[in-house]
Symmetry: C2
Subunit: 391 residues, 2 copies
């Protein structure tokens, strides 16, 4: 076999919707020696990782684990464990990931009632309240907290209250919010929340943190049907992460080291400091982008601090923008997904990537690329706006 | 939060059923910089990894990928994609992993006919032929090539022929054989074969190599029902690994680097050299163990070169043996699973772990630990037997 030698893995600045920049400390942790999945020293690392996950989820939930798959495996974990064939569920869709949740739930045999909002807008809690009233037999309300396809931050307070008042479970996708802003697990009693490691946790992709409250655990334990996925069956996985150390499958040992280190970095910074940092740098980016002369997709009130969607200005070729950013500056940003394909660009400032240097560098590079396409970006004005916000 | 500082990840010699020793080259590859999952440099690494997987699977199958989960996710991938609700399938059980396959298939809604053999024995091809004759409406025959719970190597030739003659698909678990011995994918036309990275491929756990032949791909494309797992749905995943680069989920980037490096190591050694090495060192271990005075569970003809099951001698406390090996020599071996719990010890010689030094060291350590329990192990004789075989 002809092999390129050595393997070519250049450094690039990941400012897309994920994966996000990974600190050397985390990369180094990945290459610590592999231990057995039942080894006492590995089990100690699992226990510490679980405690750290409880900290970032702000929860006391006993059942808090890292599933052995990427964020989408987290979504599937939530659906296969909470839903039985024939169950009615309400799912909110205001982007690609809400729509994906409908697909996953339907594959679990659920009858799905959808509550929608246009891409770029949040779900109206009134609409959810109405769906709950119209479908009192629904068991679960599923919703995406941070829509990675649009950059919308979905307020959860009213929706969680309405669902709980009706005796339903609330299942939340926090893939792009966890570690970058509050995910109010215990405050709102969210029943099952999942995330991914490659966003604001700033770890490579490969694990899906999941937390489940005691009420949902009881529901899962009392299922009539077996969980349709053996691999993601929490009734067994909780016995591996618990004291029993029941062998289920071989955990992705080295990925757990990486997650452990990424979570240690978060604990050292302090969760609230980290949230503030994400917010502050995002606001600087927004001000800079507006001064540059481009429009943002989402109203300020509903913008994610981790991910910003820029409306592609008329006459600008978005694919060429992304190509230039990569070839000229080694910067990756994201394109639009679904019906927003070609219409927006997505810029992530997550984990260690959320810093002033990246805001300044991105605006400078992006402005230059736009000017090349004839769009009169005001780079000087943009950088002044950043200085004003961050100095 | 109180954190142990630094994280404690001691070096241990992994001679259990997996994970197995991981070379520094592979560990270092894990910490190469994270790239985007659609980045052209990452895509080039995916393509090369797919070519290398085809080499270790000895196949020309276009659909050859690494699924984003551990070996058990490979098993689930095979079942959810090949089986539709109501399908009849024949599954061979001669250990814990065959039994697991029954469980996974039943969760897919299959009607399962089982063909069994006692743990420690291979499946009799005559029994499979009879089941095929009695169940002509079955669509799939599932079988474990290398039973990790017993150390049995299952001959596949006759079983594959009988299944194919009846128009059925053959689905094979090669978790503990791939990379350590021949897995006759194209030679026998095996329709879907899956493995894990943490055995003879000598990479940390976290990915499941899967290969599917064109006939099975056609079957999957013509399914009446959607694949019940969104995460493991090959109809979408083949579009990400193929030229289209359709976004499905964010691949575990750094784990792919590790697998790429582990497969490069295999290509450098040469697959057949690697098989010979595994065989030679296993035979030395067997001779050494017999000279030591212990019995092996499996008849020589059906022993795996990667994993050896030792019958616990009467009067010996197997848990104390494992504990002593770990505390005195930092060596991990495996206990029995299922009905063999407490009755056998499992010793793996996989990947770079299959070498003369480990055979000698293990026999010396194991013999000493047995002698401590009053079992008169002939350590000198064992080491002479190894010398005779390997010098």
């Amino acid at each position: 076999m002809k092999l390129e030698n050595p393997r070519n893995v250049p450094e690039k600045l990941l400012l897309g919707p994920g994966p996000t920049p990974v600190e050397s400390r985390v990369l180094r942790a990945l290459s610590e020696p592999t231990l057995g999945h039942l080894d006492k020293d590995f089990v100690a690392i699992m226990d510490e990782t679980r405690d750290l996950l409880r900290y970032v989820f702000q929860t006391k939930n006993e059942l808090t684990v890292a599933m052995s798959g990427t964020g989408s495996a987290g979504m599937e974990t939530a659906c296969v464990n909470m839903i039985e064939r024939g169950d009615k569920v309400i799912i909110c869709t205001h982007g690609v990931f809400g729509t994906r949740m409908v697909d996953v739930a339907e594959r679990c045999g659920a009858e799905v009632v959808t509550v929608s909002a246009p891409m770029g807008k949040p779900i109206d809690p009134e609409d959810v309240a109405r769906a709950i009233k119209d479908n009192p037999d629904a068991k679960v309300v599923g919703i995406v907290h941070a829509e990675t396809s649009t950059g919308v931050l979905q307020p959860l307070d009213d929706i969680a209250k309405a669902a709980h008042d009706a005796g339903m479970f609330v299942l939340v996708d926090a893939v792009t919010s966890l570690g970058g802003m509050e995910v109010p697990v215990d405050r709102l009693g969210l029943d099952m929340v999942y995330s991914g490691t490659q966003k604001c946790l700033a770890c490579p992709p490969g694990l899906a943190p999941v937390t489940v409250n005691p009420r949902a655990v009881e529901h899962i334990k009392n299922r009539q049907q077996k969980v349709q996925s053996w691999y993601l069956d929490l009734t067994m996985i909780m016995r591996y992460w618990g004291q029993e150390r029941f062998y289920h499958h071989t955990a992705p040992i080295n990925m757990i080291y990486g997650l452990n280190e990424a979570l240690r970095i978060i604990a050292e910074e302090g969760l609230e400091n980290r949230w503030r940092r994400h917010r502050r740098n995002a606001e600087a980016l927004w001000d800079g982008l507006e001064a540059l002369g481009v429009k943002l997709l989402v109203d300020k009130e509903y913008r994610l601090p981790s991910l910003t969607s820029i409306v592609v200005p008329e006459g600008v070729d978005e694919a060429a923008v992304r190509k230039d950013l990569m070839s000229q500056y080694s910067v990756e940003i994201g394109s639009g997904l679904g019906e927003l394909k070609g219409k927006i660009l997505r810029v992530g400032l997550m984990g260690s990537g959320s810093n002033k240097e990246n805001v300044v560098f991105f605006l400078a590079a992006f402005g230059t690329v736009l000017r090349k396409q004839g769009f009169g970006a005001d780079i000087g004005g943009a950088l002044e706006a950043v200085e004003k916000k961050l100095s």
